[in-house]
Amino acid sequence: MTMNNRLKRILQGIFWILVYLFLTLLPVMVMFLPPRPPGREFIRELSVALGFVGLAMMALQFALTARFKTIKAPYGADVVYQFHRQISILAFVLILIHPILLFVPQIHPISILNIFSPETPWRARFAVTSLLALCGLIVMALWRKPLKIEYTRWRIWHGVLATAAVAFAMLHVLGVNWYINVPWKRLLWAGYSIFFVGLLLYTRVWKPWQLLRTPYRVQEVKPERGGCWSLILQPDNHAGFDFQPGQFAWITAFSSPFKDAEHPFSFSNAPAGDGRLRFTIKELGDFTRRIKELKPGDVVYVDGPYGAFSIDRHPYAKEFVFIAGGVGITPVVSMLHALAQRNDPRPLLLIYGGRDLESLTLRDEIEELQGRLNLKVVYVLENPPEGWQGEKGYITREVLDRWLLPERRKNQTEIFICGPIPMMNAVEDALARMGFFAGDVHSERFDLV
């Protein structure tokens, strides 16, 4: 990548972080502006400030997950989701501190939490309901898998609880009516509410409606090595979209796009020019196990493309290294196909880890691509066949040391990693210790929740 491109992306990244900070702190900044209501105890004012910031952060969470391509472009979609996840814990802590600060010095009696008591004002009932929704939201998001909540059901509840948490918190602010004492300050909160409702309409109505108008038809469902299925889709009476190799899309099958039952998968083909898409999907959960039930002609909806995990973002690289584990090979195969299509002469190295030779998904395609590219492939097998001379076990620092030669230089070799999370963490750490510049290492994480 040229320094200009990199600088531009860094500046874009910083810009959106500053916008986020500004919108988060805007309520407190507005509270500072006169006319201010009379001052009260320090602890109460601190509690109010944290509550307002927490609410702004909750409302902004909807913007982070609304799939605005301009916001996600500098970072990649998985980074934005990771931020969404981490920052939600911060927002939760701030919102939790808000009532605690009011109860500890007994500014309000703890009995106000009893929403069924006739003495409890509505503003407190709204606050308690919002907090309960938020607690449910956090518990379900952090422990979805141990609680055995199916992904599609979880997504529906996540949306319902998040909407309830923000809506009831807004009602609480209106009910307290302290820092919204003048019309223009009320206008700010009306603005936040409109923004929030607008985002809901955009994600729940506008986007699904767009998807409904641009359906795809299943052309073929093909079994692949390693318990995977390749799903080939053709746009149905529209041009489809162009994508960069390595990117991904959200797929809705067996259901309407209004039902919010999407799943993210990488493209495993190169952009074909005719809108045709291929996804290679491993049977891992309830949805993925049903992929094989799709028949030619069935309707599927595709929202994409997303992601920053692509060779096309680094056109000036001198060489590319791909490190993949299991089904993490799919975006890599997409990039290899694109490089072959373009007769790209640059040296390429693929380190591909898997259980055994037979279960390496898309291995036959990779071997065919080897003939068309300047590509060296290193398989790392957990259970190698008898007499295997290649790498064994996992993709460790030792394996990387043997294949990633020290003369590979900063800003010239771009490294792409995709696979199971423990493998990606280990490889990222090993590459950092080997002296690879973090900006040259790119990873795609699909374990979003």
Binding site: L25, G39, Q86, E428
Partner: protein
């Protein structure tokens, strides 16, 4: 690496929020200014 950067960013945002909120509370309660 990226996870650590993200955690650092979240902590930095948290600290900034805390600082501004403390400042607001101090001014509004009359402790400052």
């Amino acid at each position: 690496m990226r996870s650590r950067l993200m955690t650092a960013l979240t902590v930095a945002i948290g600290l900034m929020i805390l600082l501004i909120s403390l400042l607001f509370a101090a001014v509004q309660s009359g402790l400052l200014g």
